[in-house]
Symmetry: C2
Subunit: 224 residues, 2 copies
Amino acid sequence: MTPDSLYAISLIAENCPGVLRDVASVVAAHNTNILMVQQSIIPCGPNRGKASLYFELEGGEDRGLMIADLVELHCTEDVITYAPFSRIFGSRVIIIGGGAQVAQVAMGAVNEADRHNIRGERISVDTIPLVGEDDLAQAVEAVARLPRASILVLAGSLMGGEISSAVDRVRQAGIPVIALKMAGTVPKHADLVVTDPIQAGVFAVMHVSGKAVFDIYRVRGQEF
Amino acid sequence: MTPDSLYAISLIAENCPGVLRDVASVVAAHNTNILMVQQSIIPCGPNRGKASLYFELEGGEDRGLMIADLVELHCTEDVITYAPFSRIFGSRVIIIGGGAQVAQVAMGAVNEADRHNIRGERISVDTIPLVGEDDLAQAVEAVARLPRASILVLAGSLMGGEISSAVDRVRQAGIPVIALKMAGTVPKHADLVVTDPIQAGVFAVMHVSGKAVFDIYRVRGQEF
């Protein structure tokens, strides 16, 4: 499947039951895969109260014909085609931990992503500062379900317990984990341990980049 | 609709046509709204090649009964309940622009979000460094389609043209826009113009917070 076979559409529709079923049936009839759907009620403006649906789609034979069939559904009012989020916001570096350290890792990651995005890549840097074992463990585990999450950096001074179990599950889902050098068991569960938060952010972006030569799995278990 | 009526489930299913239709039918039969669906093929591990579906759902009468009906579908193998992303990652502050300035705005926003999240809120700070009018305009416009995007900060030294039109469309979608003081027409289209990037990040988080007293619409058109 080439990247070009991925695209996005949005539709405005009446807010009535069965819209998703009707749209999904048209999409399936054109042998197109649905990768993502978001539905919401439009809160303001001329379409207030109507449903907005956003789809990311892959494959299919005749995109124009499918869109024409969607326009003909009695419930839909407007169909617009977009580039998918993967081509706009790209791969996501996720940074979770204490505010002071999350900000420093983000600085390293944003500046490194800038250098890559200037050359045509798309790497974004997404963060949440949090405290407490339970809240951190829940957020870490949820990274495995986040769309386009490509690497996780844990930025703090003390993390262990349930957070370490969550790190294991994220890595099992295929997402590598970098930890700052810190107290607690998390560094033992991470792929890479980094002392300098700026460098941790740079490493994370270098791993995600399709153009850099760095691969975290070639330095797994090391500490810098 | 109370926040508690929002929840998430994931299912592992055979990768065959009609899974989404079958699941959506069960969900609709229980008077439950689908807010978001993500589908992907599991790339590794014991479930490799199977489909993973993630749903965010709202309302419905008997959640347990609905999940039991989902488990009974012949295509599904496993159904797990989660907290939805809104309760884990919360409202999103989005920062777009040049790397050096995005990093500074992020530092202000992450540190301010830390203070709020310690008190039980959930505010995340998501960024992408980009250059070029077309790429920036495309990213800015896409913010209106991003789930949970609550405010946008444009961090750069020169932005105008198509980017200003995109700012207008994002604001029409109900998302306020802060611009750094910069050359180009973007500051004229923003709700608020801020000179210091750290303060711009702090303002953005203060607006999103449910606990802070700041409301961007009470200072609209001002410059700091």
